[in-house]
């Protein structure tokens, strides 16, 4: 490697353009080969050129990188690339010395379409599932003291969640941590925000929220480090990311998943109106129940009282009828009835005559018949 020579003008060290470019180019060559992902644009291939040129564009922010690859190598890959296709390029940075152009010298190119992306995510999902990262499902608090909201600084999404939570439970207290939710820095920023908000005093549940977006927009929510951070979060986490059809991996690691801000609100706070209505119903039930107890007692008491009022009369009636019965039997047993049938009782000296030897001829006796007595003499 030739040494880059400078010209000296007194104290000043000056490089020729070629020397400067060569110096930078040599320095760049020490950098390692890496994979870079982007979209292919401005692909230029000419059969007379040694190299194929294209520009790799970052779909998130439009950053561009010129790429060259040897034509023979490019043709051997048989990729048949078209503008706009997502690729992974393996190569190293390079400076084209003659023009001072920075670019990437590609050694290999792989198409990386949506399918490849999904396959990579699926592999990650399987790996995390096998580790048990998705198994932790903790119950959400019925009424959290404070709700932590990790959200993008995108006003609409944040306002949506705040509004729905407040509408459902007007007294809800929400701590908001705004963070990047898109681009290569988003995952780390969200991990940091999640950690900070989980450590905030009185926060009992965390909502991770982001509005809808493209598949690429939501990619940070499938970042392995973020997914693990959610699973390891000391507080229950609700994932409210994207729309119903999206399923970023953070959804699986979270304790609950909500497809809309409204659904997230329903998960983290109870409906205050419904709670009050139920309380009201319970309270009226309370008064009704208490009145019912008294009413039932009163009715039973009234019955007992009614019976009590009748009881003495009943008792006297019963005794009277027994008395009548006894009188009847008494009457049946008296000798009067016998006398009425024609029998008579004979007495002498007030003793009833039962045998003939009890009297002698000439004795005075008294005869009693049904309606009275008369005297007689024994013959």
């Amino acid at each position: 490697m030739s040494k880059v020579e400078a010209i000296h003008y007194g104290d000043r060290k000056v490089y020729a353009v070629a020397a400067f470019n060569r110096g930078v180019a040599e320095w760049l060559q020490r950098l390692p080969t890496v994979w870079v992902e982007g979209e292919v644009t401005e692909l230029r291939r000419n059969a007379r050129w040694q190299s194929v040129f294209f520009t790799l564009k970052d779909p998130n922010d439009g950053a561009c990188l010129g790429v060259t690859i040897a034509r023979s190598r490019f043709d051997a890959l048989r990729l048949d690339l078209a503008d706009g296709e997502r690729v992974h390029v393996f190569g190293r940075p390079e400076l084209f010395e003659a023009r001072g152009d920075f670019r990437m010298r590609a050694l290999s190119i792989e198409r990386f379409g949506l399918g490849d992306h999904l396959a990579a995510l699926e592999r990650l999902k399987k790996k995390l599932a096998a580790e048990g990262v998705f198994e932790r499902k903790r119950p959400l608090p019925f009424l959290p003291r404070k709700i932590g909201l990790v959200t993008g600084n995108d006003a609409a999404a944040k306002k949506d969640v705040l509004a729905t939570i407040s509408a459902r439970f007007p007294g809800a207290r929400i701590v908001v941590a705004e963070t990047l939710v898109q681009g290569p820095l988003a995952a780390n920023a969200m991990i940091e925000a999640l950690r900070a908000i989980a450590a905030a005093p009185e926060v009992d549940v965390v909502v991770l929220s982001r509005g809808g977006g493209s598949f690429e927009d939501l990619l940070p929510f499938s970042d392995e480090k973020l997914v693990r951070a959610i699973a390891a979060c000391p507080l229950p986490v609700v994932s409210a990311v994207g729309h119903e059809q999206d399923s970023p991996l953070c959804d699986f690691a979270a304790d609950a998943r909500a497809s809309t801000p409204t659904a997230a609100a329903r998960l983290v706070v109870p409906d205050a109106g419904e709670l009050l209505a139920r309380l009201d119903r319970t309270r009226s039930g309370l008064a009704r129940g208490a009145r019912g107890v008294v009413d039932r007692r009163r009715e039973r008491l009234a019955q007992a009282h009614h019976r009590l009022r009748r009881a003495p009369t009943l008792a006297v009636e019963r005794k009277r009828s027994r008395l009548e019965h006894a009188a009847g039997r008494l009457r049946a047993l008296s000798p009067r009835a016998t006398l009425e049938r024609g029998y008579a009782i004979v007495r002498t000296h007030d003793e009833i005559v039962r045998t003939t030897s009890a009297v002698s001829s000439g004795d005075e006796v008294e005869v009693e018949v049904a309606d009275g007595r008369f005297g007689a003499r024994v013959e």
Binding site: L308, A311, P312, V316, R318
Partner: protein, 68 residues
């Protein structure tokens, strides 16, 4: 109804008296005594119910006023 006799105890005693009277087991003099005791229990029970009802209505009214 003595101080420690609950409403339920008084009610039970009253009902036992009624049953005894209705079965006609009691002598006439005893029946009169039982009846007087029954009336006394009845009055005390009604008094307790009235007091309970008054308290309930009072509480219900107060609850109405503090409706959220």
């Amino acid at each position: 109804m003595s101080a420690e006799q609950t409403f339920e105890d008084a009610q039970r005693e009253l009902e036992q008296i009624v049953e005894r009277l209705e079965r006609g087991e009691a002598g006439l003099d005893e029946a009169i005594t039982l009846w007087e005791r029954g009336e006394e229990l009845y009055k005390l029970c009604v008094g307790r119910l009235d007091a309970a009802q008054g308290k309930i209505e009072e509480l219900a009214r107060r609850a109405e006023q503090t409706r959220p």
